[in-house]
């Protein structure tokens, strides 16, 4: 395994024959093989219950796989890692912390020293348009603003990987498009490796360098396609023919396994 990891110079995350079962009856993931390059923005798309969130939780070190393994930076993922940032479907902000204090949570947990990071936090808040809200409490912000704060929190300790579990799924369509644009901008500026899980085919094609399509349970990878639209991609790229071709190919793959029924 290790030699394999070394041969592929830009590889940051390696997933090998990864299987996850819940009890004996449910197989959530089956024999997943996946290689993710450093700095890549990869989207994993699939129907509900295809195990895409499970895959993300395994990568985050929140649960162990049943078989196979996942590697990050050439070492096996056996528990939570400090160089990973996670964004969940809901913002998961702590209501007793101000926006700034929420954003600094990873700093507090990892004892990196608030004083040093204060400026970095303010910069990131500015990057997502939350400057001026740093002393607000989360319940004073809209859903979209809360999710932006969650995004900043995932970036603050400068992790090499950003794991995003349907991060904009709970937002309305317009806010969601706005957040997609913003994520692209941040990604272009910071060049993190992003693993973006979604059930929206359009969102996946718009954002990703590469889209991995998964089948319903047991989750398997049924298709992978490269998306090479130039960046920054405007929202209007979604109206182009090439975009439509990608989307319909993914839909066909999902349909073939009964994913969109």
């Amino acid at each position: 395994m290790e030699t394999e990891t070394e041969t592929h110079a830009r590889e940051l995350i390696a997933v090998r024959r990864l299987t996850k079962r819940y009890g004996t009856a449910v197989t959530a993931l089956e024999a997943i093989d996946l290689s993710i390059d450093d700095g890549e923005l990869i989207a994993i798309v699939g129907p509900s219950g295809c195990g895409k969130s499970t895959l993300l939780r395994i990568l985050a070190g929140l649960m162990p796989p049943s078989e196979g393994e996942a590697w990050l930076h050439g070492s096996r993922i056996e528990g939570p890692r400090r160089d990973i940032g996670v964004v969940f479907q809901t913002p998961v902000l702590f209501p007793w912390r101000t926006v700034l204090a929420n954003v600094l949570l990873p700093i507090d947990v990892q004892r990196l020293g608030r004083d040093k990071m204060q400026a970095a936090a303010m910069n990131l808040l500015k990057l997502v348009g939350l400057d001026g809200f740093e002393n607000h409490l989360p319940n004073q912000l809209s859903g979209g603003m809360q999710q932006r704060a969650a995004l900043v929190r995932a970036l603050i300790h400068d992790p090499s990987v950003l794991l995003m579990d349907e991060p904009f799924g709970a937002l309305d369509a317009m806010t969601r498009e706005q957040m997609n644009l913003e994520l692209q901008r941040i990604w272009m500026e910071r060049r993190k490796t992003v693993v973006f899980v979604t059930h929206s085919v359009g969102e996946a094609v718009f954002l990703a360098d590469r889209v991995v399509v998964m089948s319903p349970r047991p989750g398997r990878i049924i298709d992978t396609l490269e998306v090479d639209f130039p960046r920054p991609r405007p929202l209007s790229v979604m109206n182009t023919e090439a975009f439509g071709v990608h989307v319909s190919r993914i839909r066909q793959a999902l349909n073939a396994t009964g994913g969109l029924e």
């Binding site: 528990g79 990973i84 702590f94 007793w96 949570l105 947990v109 990892q110 300790h157």
Partner: protein, 257 residues
């Protein structure tokens, strides 16, 4: 929702009470009219008699509250955090909880004597459970996503406790403190009934023997004022500490001993 109507209703109740007591010639040892109660209150305060007893009862209540609340919080924390602790201890706790604690008062007097200590212990016992139960519920209610977030940051269990579980439990703990404060007052009064040399409970009993019913009513009035102010103190602290959460109305002054 008219505030004047509310006030008017209270005045009306007092007026009907006053009128009925006088017109129907109800004996003063059965139901004294409000004016007689007010006179009793005035006499008690002016003579300095009530001041001493109020002080004693409040001290017992407060110390009992501190004792019971800290013990309830500590034990609740252990139960919430350790499955093993819960497994072995919970049956005992449940048995004890099912028992009406005020029924223990005579025993407590035998064990701890007639003065302050027995009242404090009894008040502490009565207010122990609401706090323990609310601490357990609060600490256990931590949102799964928040726990996942903390774990994804490689937070230690200690960090998860201090940074997530404890602050998240505070609304529930304060709901427990509100109840515990009133329960402590009940515990102190009951212990005073059973055997005491001072305190408002003792005062009520001695007035009962001398058939001073107006005096008893005036002490009851003082007790309800004490209850209200103790509750207001807890609420004021809650507003400071749990600033992000508004109190739930069903938590106010609820429960029975």
């Amino acid at each position: 929702m008219n505030p004047y109507l509310r006030l008017l209703l209270m005045v009306a109740i007092l007026a009907v009470w006053e009128g009925a007591a006088r017109l129907l010639h109800v004996p003063a040892y059965i139901l004294p009219p409000p004016t007689a109660v007010a006179m009793g209150l005035y006499r008690g305060i002016a003579s300095g008699l009530y001041v001493e007893h109020v002080w004693i009862t409040m001290l017992e209540t407060f110390l009992g509250f501190l004792l019971g609340a800290s013990a309830g919080f500590a034990l609740g924390t252990f139960v919430a955090l350790s499955r093993r602790f819960e497994y072995y201890l919970y049956p005992v706790i449940i048995m004890f909880q099912a028992m009406p604690k005020v029924a223990l008062a005579p025993l407590i007097i035998v064990w701890f004597g007639l003065d302050l200590t027995s009242k404090v212990v009894n008040a502490g016992l009565v207010c122990f459970f609401p706090l323990m139960v609310n601490t357990i519920v609060g600490l256990r209610s931590a949102d799964e996503d928040r726990v996942s977030l903390m774990r994804s940051l490689a937070a230690s269990p200690t960090q998860i406790f201090w940074m997530l579980r404890l602050p998240g439990a505070l609304p529930s703990i304060f709901a427990g403190l509100e109840i515990a404060m009133i329960f402590a007052l009940i515990g102190a009064i009951v212990a005073e009934f059973v055997g005491a040399q001072a305190g408002l409970g003792m005062l009520i009993q001695s007035m009962n023997f001398s058939m001073d019913v107006a005096g008893q009513f005036s002490v009851l009035f003082i007790l309800s004022l004490i209850g209200l102010s103790l509750n207001a103190i807890v609420l004021a602290i809650r507003r400071k500490v749990v600033f992000w959460d508004r109190p739930a109305p069903e938590n106010r002054l609820g429960g029975k001993p």
